[in-house]
C-alpha cells in the first residue's frame, strides 16, 4: 500500500484469511467430491499471489469461495476482519472468458458495474478514465463481438476495476490470449496492481506467468485439493523472463510439479 493509514483495520481490510477451509460437492451419482481439504492461507493486503496446480486441485473453487459465490462446507474465509458471506463489489472477479455482456457496448459494459451498485449517476465521470486506462477509447461504442479477445479482456479488466475493489480475483484471465497479447496484458495488470495497491489472487496454468507476476506462488495438489507448498519469489521487479534466477526458479517449480503426484505431502513449503 502506498499510504499507511493510522488505524490497523483499514490496512487489513484488503487482506484475505482462509482458515481450515473444506469444500465438498455432491456428484449426481450421490458420491462426495472433496474439492478443497482443510486449506489455510493468509494473503496480505496489496499482495499478488498465484495459485498453480493441475486441473482439479481446487484453485478455481478457492477463488469462487473468496468471491463469495459459493460457501465452504467447513472453515472460514475472511476479508480483513469480516467473514465472507456473499459476493461483494469489494472483491472483483475476472474469468478466462471476458464475460462482457454481448448486448452492451464496451462503454455500457464498464458502466454496468456502476449501474449494478446504483452509483452510475455520481460516478459516470470515472468511466472515461477507465476506458483510457485500458486504452479502448476508439472502441468505446463497439460491441464485444466486434473487438479482439485481447481488447475484450482489457475491457473486462476495466469493468472489474471501476468499482475500486480492494481485492481482485483473476481466474486464468489471460489463458485464452495469444503469447504476445498475453505478455502485454501481464504488464498491464502489474501496472494497475502497483498503482492501485489492490490485493490480487491469480489462478494460472502458466508457470512463467506465476513467476513473472507474483510475490508468492501457492502450489496445489488435486484429489483432495490441498496446498502443496508456497514459494516466495524474491526477485526485483520488473522481472526478466530470461534471467538466470527466473529460469532457475522455473526449473525448480517444474520439477516439483513433476514429482508432486508421487510425493503427495501436505503443507510443508519452502518457507
Amino acid at each position: 500500500m502506498v499510504i499507511a493509514p493510522a488505524d490497523n483495520n483499514s490496512i487489513d481490510a484488503s487482506s484475505l484469511q482462509i482458515r481450515n477451509v473444506t469444500k465438498r460437492f455432491i456428484a449426481p451419482d450421490g458420491s462426495q467430491l472433496t474439492a478443497l481439504d482443510n486449506v489455510s492461507l493468509s494473503i496480505a493486503a496489496g499482495e499478488m499471489v498465484s495459485l498453480v496446480g493441475p486441473s482439479g486441485c481446487g484453485k478455481s473453487t478457492l477463488l469462487r469461495l473468496l468471491a463469495g459465490l459459493d460457501q465452504p462446507t467447513a472453515g472460514e474465509l475472511r476479508v480483513g476482519n469480516e467473514p465472507i458471506r456473499g459476493p461483494s463489489a469489494q472483491r472483483g472477479l475476472m474469468f478466462q472468458d471476458h464475460n462482457l455482456f454481448p448486448w452492451l457496448t464496451i462503454r455500457r459494459n464498464i458502466e454496468s458495474a456502476l449501474v449494478a451498485r446504483g452509483v452510475l449517476r455520481e460516478r459516470r465521470g470515472e468511466v472515461d478514465e477507465f476506458i483510457q486506462l485500458v486504452g479502448l477509447e476508439a472502441f468505446a461504442n463497439s460491441y464485444p463481438h466486434q473487438i479482439s479477445g485481447g481488447m475484450a479482456q482489457r475491457a473486462a479488466l476495466a469493468r472489474a476495476l471501476v468499482n475500486h475493489p480492494k481485492v481482485l480475483l483473476l481466474d486464468e484471465p489471460l489463458g485464452a490470449l495469444d503469447a504476445f497479447t498475453r505478455m502485454r496484458m501481464q504488464d498491464e495488470v502489474l501496472r494497475l496492481w502497483r498503482s492501485r495497491g489492490t490485493t490480487m489472487v491469480l489462478v494460472t496454468h502458466d508457470i512463467d506467468e506465476a513467476i513473472y507476476m507474483s510475490d508468492r506462488i501457492v502450489m496445489m495438489t488435486p484429489r483432495p485439493g490441498r496446498i502443496e507448498r508456497i514459494i516466495e519469489v524474491n526477485q526485483p521487479r520488473p522481472r526478466q523472463r530470461n534471467s538466470s534466477q527466473f529460469l532457475e526458479l522455473r526449473g525448480r517449480i517444474l520439477e516439483m510439479l513433476h514429482f508432486a503426484g508421487e510425493h503427495a505431502k501436505t503443507g510443508a513449503g519452502e518457507r
Binding site: 459465490l69 459476493p87 448486448w103
Partner: protein
C-alpha cells in the same frame, strides 16, 4: 499462428468496427457475370411486354371480362421497369436494389402471364374456382371498401390477441425461467395445455366468453402465450451462469440480475417465441373469424366462398399475404433494432 489469432490481430489493427455492405449480403445471381446487368435491366420490361402480347393476341377460351385492370397493371409494370435505367441518375442504392431484384420481378410478371394462359386463354382450370388474374384484380378493386374494412377488423383482433398473449407469455416465461418452484409447478401445465391447438378451444370459448370478439381475442392470446412462455422460460433459465456470477461480484441485486442480465441474455430466444407466436396467431385469427366473428378477412373468405365468388376469395388471400407479411417484417425490424449486438442473425 492459428487462424483465430490472426483474426484477433486483424481486429486489433483496424480502427472501425466493420459493417458488411448491405448489397454484398444479398443473394444476387446476376452479380456473377459482367454482361448480366444489361439483361437484368431489360428482363422485367420484356416480361411485361410478353404478358401484354399474350393478353391481347392469344384468343380467350373463357368468357371475356369487360374490364381492363389487368392490362393497366401490366402497362404500369412495363412503365416502372423502364424507369430502372433512369433511376441510376438519382440514387445508386435504388439502382443496385432494383438490379438485384430484377430477376424476381421478371419471373413474377411471367407467372401472372402463365396464370392467364392456363385460365382465361386455354381454360385448363374449371370456373368459377379458378378465375384469371383479371377476375381477381377486378374483385380487389370492386370490393376495396369491404376488404379494407375486413383488414381493419382483422388487425384489431390480431393486435389485441397478440399483445395480450405476448405480455402474458413474457411474464409467465420470466417467472418460470427464474424461479425453480414456478418451473416445477408451471412446466407440467405448460407441457399439457400448450400443445393443444388454440382452435380446439373454440366450442368452450364461445360458451365462456360474453362476445365472439372477446372469445377470438382470448383464443389468439392463448395460441401466442404458449410459444412465448416456453421460449422465454428456456432463454431465462439458460442464461450463462458466469454472466450472473460476474454481475453478483459487481454488487448486483436480484432485480438487476433479472432485468439487466437474464432478460437481455434471453432476448434472442424470446424473439424466436414471438415469431412462432405470430405464426400461430395468423392461423388462429383466420379460423376464429371463419367460425365465430362476423368480420375480418377470414370471415370475408368464407362469405365470398358461400356466394361462389372465388375472385373475391383470392383477392382476400392476396390481401392477407400482404398484411401478414408486413406484420412479420415489422417484427423483424424490431428484432434487428433490439438485437444489433447479435452477430449472424437470420435475414427476413
Amino acid at each position: 499462428m492459428t487462424l483465430q489469432q490472426m483474426e484477433i490481430n486483424e481486429a486489433e489493427s483496424r480502427s472501425e468496427p466493420d459493417v458488411a455492405p448491405a448489397i454484398a449480403a444479398d443473394y444476387s445471381p446476376i452479380a456473377a457475370k459482367r454482361r448480366a446487368p444489361v439483361i437484368a435491366m431489360f428482363a422485367t420490361p420484356a416480361a411485361a411486354g410478353v404478358a401484354l402480347a399474350v393478353h391481347y393476341w392469344v384468343p380467350n377460351n373463357e368468357p371475356t371480362p369487360n374490364t381492363s385492370s389487368y392490362p393497366v397493371l401490366l402497362a404500369g409494370v412495363l412503365g416502372l421497369s423502364l424507369l430502372l435505367p433512369i433511376s441510376q441518375f438519382f440514387s445508386v442504392r435504388l439502382k443496385n436494389w432494383l438490379l438485384a431484384k430484377a430477376p424476381l420481378f421478371a419471373v413474377a410478371t411471367l407467372t401472372l402471364c402463365a396464370w392467364e394462359l392456363i385460365t382465361l386463354k386455354f381454360a385448363l382450370m374449371p370456373l368459377p374456382f379458378f378465375p384469371g388474374p383479371e377476375g381477381v384484380l377486378q374483385s380487389l378493386i370492386n370490393d376495396r371498401r369491404l376488404l379494407a374494412d375486413s383488414t381493419w377488423h382483422s388487425l384489431i383482433l390480431l393486435m389485441g390477441g397478440y399483445l395480450a398473449g405476448s405480455i402474458a407469455g413474457l411474464i409467465s416465461g420470466i417467472i418460470m425461467g427464474w424461479s425453480i418452484k414456478a418451473r416445477y409447478w408451471g412446466m407440467p401445465i405448460l407441457k399439457i395445455v400448450g400443445p393443444i391447438p388454440a382452435t380446439a378451444w373454440i366450442p368452450l370459448a364461445m360458451v365462456v366468453c360474453p362476445s365472439a370478439l372477446l372469445s377470438a381475442v382470448s383464443l389468439i392470446a392463448l395460441a401466442v402465450w404458449f410459444p412465448v412462455t416456453m421460449l422465454t422460460a428456456s432463454g431465462i433459465s439458460n442464461t450463462k451462469a458466469s454472466y450472473l456470477d460476474v454481475a453478483r461480484t459487481m454488487g448486483a441485486g436480484r432485480l438487476y440480475l433479472i432485468f439487466r442480465v437474464a432478460i437481455p441474455a434471453a432476448m434472442p430466444s424470446i424473439f424466436i417465441g414471438l415469431f412462432m407466436g405470430l405464426g400461430t396467431s395468423f392461423l388462429t385469427l383466420v379460423v376464429a373469424e371463419t367460425v365465430g366473428v362476423k368480420s375480418g378477412l377470414g370471415w370475408y373468405v368464407s362469405w365470398a366462398q358461400g356466394w361462389a365468388e372465388y375472385g373475391k376469395v383470392y383477392a382476400a388471400i392476396v390481401i392477407m399475404a400482404a398484411f401478414f407479411s408486413t406484420i412479420m417484417t415489422l417484427l423483424f425490424a424490431l428484432r434487428d433494432r433490439l438485437l444489433v449486438w447479435q452477430k449472424g442473425v437470420i435475414k427476413w
